[in-house]
């Protein structure tokens, strides 16, 4: 399964006008990726552009693109925020609250006898990340923060949308592709996303569900590959492999830490967002 992620807007939360910021994912079975590449290649050639950016294309062309998106076995997920419901000052306030929460958590850890130095290093890093805009500005912080929510939603939809047996083989591999902000290196927000993604997805806020009959013989390829003993899901096993032809493409690494989550019959919501 190939999951493509991108965002629209600069997430600048300007105070002088209404603006909306969207993050979206396109989910495609591996067997359909070549058709997407073919369609994109032809559309770019026809329009004489390097990339297909909705903001720069004629409105009429968007109808044709949306018809293509709706015509195949593709799935879409999108989330939005805007300058009415979130301001730059509130993001700063939220970051301070997060830093304070992390401070309390590391103190509890120490008081309960925790001695692993790695935990202190991890907390210290992320307290500074949350508190210091000089490390990562509000725009990049909020994009990385919200992206975790979107990636979970896309993973969830990848499972529930393709439960039919016809998609069994497509669910054996996952490819996550982001359009990078900088050529040749990770932007500050991308670095944070890379480090935080697995721990966040493994937290109580996010759960994934698979049909119970996927564990029955013949075991579904998804369960066979990503399941662990005790009905756990190993995010580390959802590997990242590059694909696509965009010059700044990023692939997400799910191998930076160990995290697993009990499969559940329901999907939890993230209480920090609504």
């Amino acid at each position: 399964m190939h999951l493509y992620f991108d965002e629209s807007g600069d997430f600048g939360f300007t105070a002088d006008r209404f603006d909306a910021y969207v993050q979206a994912a396109l989910i495609s079975p591996g067997s359909f990726v070549e058709k997407i590449s073919h369609y994109v290649h032809n559309a770019k050639r026809e329009l004489g552009v390097e990339e297909l950016h909705a903001a720069e294309l004629p409105d009429e062309k968007l109808i044709e693109i949306c018809r293509f998106l709706d015509g195949g076995p593709l799935s879409l997920v999108a989330q939005v925020t805007d300058t009415h419901v979130m301001t730059d000052a509130q993001i700063t306030e939220h970051r301070q609250e997060q830093a304070e929460l992390l401070e309390r958590n590391i103190e509890k850890y120490k008081q309960s006898g925790g001695q692993w130095e790695g935990a202190v290093v991890w907390y210290t890093r992320h307290i500074k990340r949350a508190a210091l805009a000089s490390r990562i500005n509000n725009s990049e912080y909020v994009q990385a923060d919200l992206f975790v929510n979107l990636i979970h939603a896309a993973l969830f939809k990848s499972i529930v949308r393709y439960t039919d047996d016809a998609w069994r083989d497509d669910l054996a591999d996952f490819h996550f592709v982001l359009d990078g902000k900088l050529p040749g290196k990770l932007a500050a927000g991308e670095k944070e996303l890379n480090v935080l993604l697995v721990p966040r997805l493994g937290s109580n806020d996010y759960e994934l569900v698979v049909p119970t009959n996927w564990s029955a013989e013949p075991v579904h390829p998804f369960v066979a590959k990503f399941g662990t003993d005790g009905d756990k899901l190993s995010l580390n096993r959802i590997s990242s492999t590059g694909c696509g032809s965009r010059s700044h493409t990023r692939t997400l690494a799910f191998s930076s830490s160990t995290s697993s989550r009990t499969w559940s019959a329901r999907r939890s919501s993230n209480p920090r967002m609504r």
């Binding site: 629209s8 409105d59 009429e60 109808i63 949306c66 997920v77 967002m273």
Partner: protein, 55 residues
């Protein structure tokens, strides 16, 4: 595309394009096409008039 549909609610061509993918955006049959996200400390209520056509 989605952003255009939100920012340009009067644009009929954009609305027609968005209408083609709106059902696909839903994860659950009765769910919303878009997830509206903000921090719990967020300020104003959502502009329902703006979002009603795209949800």
């Amino acid at each position: 595309m989605v952003c255009k549909a939100i920012v340009e609610p009067e644009n009929e061509v954009i609305y027609a394009a968005y209408s083609l993918i709106r059902e696909n955006l839903r994860t659950e049959r009765a769910g919303q096409a878009l997830s509206l996200v903000r921090y719990a400390t967020g300020q104003d209520n959502l502009d329902e008039g703006r979002y009603r056509p795209v949800l």
